[in-house]
Every structure is written in structure tokens, then in C-alpha cells.
Symmetry: C2
Subunit: 208 residues, 2 copies
Amino acid sequence: MIEATRRAADSAKSASPEETRERILSAAREIMAKKGKRGATTREIADVAGVNEATIFRHFGTKEALIVAVAQHFCGFLALREVASQLHGEITENLLELGRAMLERMESQMDMIRWSLVEQEYEASIFATTAWRPQLAILEVVGEFMQRRIALSELRGDPKKLAMMFMGFIFMHVLARKKFPDSELHQGGADAALRFYIDVFLNGVRGK
Amino acid sequence: MIEATRRAADSAKSASPEETRERILSAAREIMAKKGKRGATTREIADVAGVNEATIFRHFGTKEALIVAVAQHFCGFLALREVASQLHGEITENLLELGRAMLERMESQMDMIRWSLVEQEYEASIFATTAWRPQLAILEVVGEFMQRRIALSELRGDPKKLAMMFMGFIFMHVLARKKFPDSELHQGGADAALRFYIDVFLNGVRGK
DNA sequence: TGTGCGTGCAAGTGCGTACTTGCATTGCAA
DNA sequence: TTGCAATGCAAGTACGCACTTGCACGCACA
């Protein structure tokens, strides 16, 4: 605890206000991922960020505002559209590439996604909207990809269903790696697992 | 709030201690599903249960003990093995039946599962163990089913991978219904969605 | 050289919450 | 009827947490 505490205390004074704000946001995200919105105390966030507790309130005003800032700061829209729009090759390899991009992004935001699954005190909370919107954006992009491949008769079915299903594979994989870390599914690395999913998926929904 | 409050206050006095305990456990589960472990206060639990706050502590001692009791009480092992062991017919229909049973059970425990996804303050917490164990049991039973069908050359691949994948469909379906309630995936009812998943799954992993 | 902004520090305030306690009440069973 | 076990009720305690405040310090920039 002590070594983690005041991780960057020495650099605190010499840092710019933007860096300070940045460190607070990161620390808040880290602790809230562990202990949830209510379990994260401003004291601990300040300790991990290496700043004084008062500084948090000077920057954000209230803890609630800090939480909103964290959600907005780390839930940026994902630049997946560029990846998807350039995929015109062999469908297996394209899906693999798409899957890799989705996997990477979902893993880096898994803590935020987990929040959004649980924080339902208010249906229209910052989590239900901000934290989940990127996933909706992913779904849309993947749906467009599926749509194009359906038009080419490479796939059959409803593009949105296919997109949801494909995203489900990735989502489950990320979740399962936390919960079943020793599962055979994850041996051989992410690419092997992705290939397995895509194999099943394509056999199931291939057009011709 | 007021009408929800003291929902069963009149019947409280005439109830047996077991019924009182039962009502407290149910109320605790309900509120913790909404607000999480830390967000649920003993006051509100007592109100919803229609008992006095002191009664909670007379029954369970501490809030922590109440939480453990809730996890143990509602995370009983699922009697899925009987269902699975009797499935010797056509594989599509059998998977549908299995899927129905899994869906029903996972939906009824979704709040507990969501807890276990988030409460990771302690890796070996009551949630990581108690709340997740039933899912491991499901996985095992489904794996045995897959194993039998692989032996019959009806399926190909690794039984555990197949089981995990199949459970992933169900899991995602339950999750998605909360988060994408208007999705086309859920139109036509659970059975239609299940048939779609099973269709893809079987095409992907069928043996012959 | 000085002026101001960002921060550390320490003390403090108020509120919500877990938990306790003593006593009155009620229902059931010997 | 009497006694006991379970509960209601009201008041209270202790503590943690969000949030505030006043002051001192130091770095940047004029």
C-alpha cells in the first residue's frame, strides 16, 4: 500500500495543472474499477494520484463531477470506422482484423463497460449513456461491414443480428478471460481464439 | 417510495423468524441489485423488508454477514444435470431444451452474476466464489453433453470450448436484452433467438 | 524583483451509516 | 394464565466520508 501510495508525489508540484488533472482522472478510474463508484474514496484517489485531497475538489468541485469527468474522459468514441471501411479482402482475414481491433479496444475499456453493466440506479445515468455509447458505435460499424458482405452474398441473414453475434464473441472472450483464466479457450493467445470464433461464425452464416 | 416502503409491515409481526429472515434476504438482494453492495443501506433494506432496522442486526449481526448470507442463499447450485442427462434425441431440439433451461436460470440470477463481475475488491471474495460457482457448474454439465455428442460424431472440436461458446450465446443474450432491448435479436421471443444461435452454432461445429 | 496561480498541509464541519441498547409489545406455547 | 422469544421503537454512539478553509510555499512570467 505504502509503495503504491503517493506514486508521483515528488513530481506533483512541478507538474502542470493539466498533468495534475490527468493523474487524478487516471487514479480515479483505477480505483473505481476495483471498488466501484461508491467504494472509491476521494482520499484514496488523492493518495494514488499523488496529490492532496483538496486538489481534487479544486479541480472538479464534487466527487460526482469527477466521476462524470472520468466517464467522459475514458469513453471516447473509438476510431473503428477507418479500420472497417478498408476491409475489402478475404472475409476470414478481414473478420480477424476487425476482431483484433475490437478486442483491443474492448479490453482497454473493460472496466468502464463493467460499470455500465452495474450502475443502473438511474437508467439514464452517465454510465448507461456515456460508457455504453462506444459499444453502440462499434455495433453500428460492424453492422455496416456485415451489410456489405451480405450484399456480396458472402453472408446471409440480418446484418444487425450478425453484428451483435460477432460482438458477443469478442465480449464474452474478454469477460471469460477474467473469470475463466485457465480455460482452454484462451490457450494459444487471442488470435487463436479469434480464429476459432470466426471459423464457427462463418460456417454458421456463410452465404454460398 | 412510501407505497413501496413497509411493503409487508402488517404481516411482519405475525410471521415466523424464518419468514422474517427470508424477507430481509429478498429485500437485500433487490436493493443490492439496484445499488450495489455499498449503495444498499441497512435502513432501506429494513424498509423494503418491512422490518425494523435492528431486526436485521439481530438476525445477521453485521451487514457484511448479511451480504454473505444473500450470496449463499440465492446462488444455489442449479439442477441442470437432470435436464442434460436426459437429452438423447435430435441435437437441435436437445440444444434448444438445454438452452431454455440455461436461459431461465441465468436470467433469474443475472443480478448476482452482475455483482460477481464487479465486486473484485478481493479476488477470493464471496462473489468471485459463491456467485460464480453455479456458472462453472453449468459449464461442466454442458461440457459433458458436448462430449457425448462429439463421441457420436455429431459435433467436432473440444467439448469445453464448445460448452463455453454455447454458454456465451446465452450469457450475451441475457446481457444484451438489458442493454439493447430494442434489438432485432430479441424480437420473436427467446425461443426464436435461441434457434438462431443454435442454427449458427450447429452449422459451425457440426461433425459430419 | 514582485505578483499570482496552483498546490500542499492541517484542521475542521456536517452528514450519513453501521451498529447498539433499553424498554414496550405481541403472539405462542407450556 | 404465565413466561419466553421475536420484534418494534426511539435514542444514541462512533466513525468514515465528502467537502471546506486559511495559510504557507514555490515556480513562472512580467
